[in-house]
């Protein structure tokens, strides 16, 4: 089971990095955001497991369903990372 989880983690980690970049660039591209809102969402990247889903679902991003689902990928990847760190998988 462990190799499967490792593989899933690797794929999700790569996807997570891509989502963080996609989130950041999308925020910078939002002409409808005020400067304060853009600074807020940009700073929010430090809390990316929470802010990316928040941005996707309630941040006015109007992302299609696929991206909304993918917005939780960084959070899942981070959770798996800490699961490995704390030996959850034995």
């Amino acid at each position: 089971m462990l190799p499967v989880i490792w593989t899933a983690f690797a794929v999700l980690a790569v996807g997570g990095f891509i989502m963080i970049a996609a989130y950041w660039l999308d925020v910078q591209d939002r002409a409808d955001l005020s400067v304060r809102a853009r600074i807020g969402w940009s700073a929010g990247v430090l809390l990316f497991p929470l802010t990316i889903p928040a941005y996707a679902f309630v941040g006015g991003a109007e992302w299609p369903a696929f991206l909304r689902v993918a917005s939780v990928v960084p959070a899942i990847a981070l959770a798996l990372f800490f699961a490995f760190v704390f030996g959850v998988f034995g």
Partner: protein, 222 residues
């Protein structure tokens, strides 16, 4: 490698193709309009892997500099052209080698990217010259929807009926061929600019593979 690119491009964008039945037996020349650095990949995402398309005309001679150039260097299948260092006859020789191998030459006849879906920029001399020099048919191609890119944008790759070039001799005939090619590509374009949606998710994809000069030109657009 190309399989992965096709999956990636078709995941990012909703790419549709029409007119593939117009493709003659290779060799032939594909003449397309140009809106974005993604254009070669958009075409390759929807056409058969064989015959292979070799793209003519990336102007950057040094493929080790810049993100766009590095991407192009990884994928290969190009004949770089630098007007100050490579003469037209030597470019024609390189093109003839593609045709001699039964390949397809792809060329963006405008020579630089345009920013309107329904209009063409003036053509450079290469498209008609290569076709006339080699006598291969020209397949007009219109890429519709790549001026601005966003996640899952619908992009249409349209191919028109091939144009014969085997009886083209002399400057006047080349000019007439150039006009025919332009007319054939223009006929595949939409009559008016399509409306853009208010929100364009991941709109930064538009300039991801565009050169700095193209980005600057877009910024200066009215």
């Amino acid at each position: 490698m190309w399989g992965a690119v096709r999956v990636l491009v078709r995941s990012l964008f909703d790419v549709r193709v029409s007119g593939l039945e117009h493709w003659p037996r290779p060799p032939f020349q594909l003449v397309a309009n140009h809106h974005n650095g993604f254009d070669p990949m958009l075409v390759l995402a929807v056409v058969p892997l064989e015959p292979r398309i070799t793209w003519f005309g990336p102007k950057e001679a040094d493929f080790s500099r810049g993100f766009k150039n590095r991407v192009m260097a990884v994928f290969g299948g190009m004949i770089p052209y630098h007007p100050e260092r490579i003469t037209l006859p030597s470019a024609v020789r390189a093109v003839r080698r593609v045709f001699a191998a039964g390949g397809v030459l792809g060329i963006f006849a405008e020579g630089r990217i345009g920013f309107r879906e329904s209009e063409l920029l003036p053509f450079e001399e290469g498209a008609a010259a290569f076709a006339a020099a080699s006598g291969v048919p020209v397949v007009p191609c219109a890429i519709v929807g790549s001026t601005r890119l966003w996640f899952r944008r619908r992009i249409e790759i349209r191919f028109g009926p091939p144009l014969r070039t085997d009886a083209v001799r002399g400057r006047e005939a080349r000019r007439e061929l150039d006009a025919r090619i332009r007319e054939a590509v223009a006929a595949l374009l939409p009559p008016t600019e399509p409306p853009l949606p208010r929100r364009q998710p991941l709109a930064w994809l538009t300039d991801l593979l565009n050169g700095a000069d193209d980005v600057a030109r877009r910024r200066d657009q009215p």
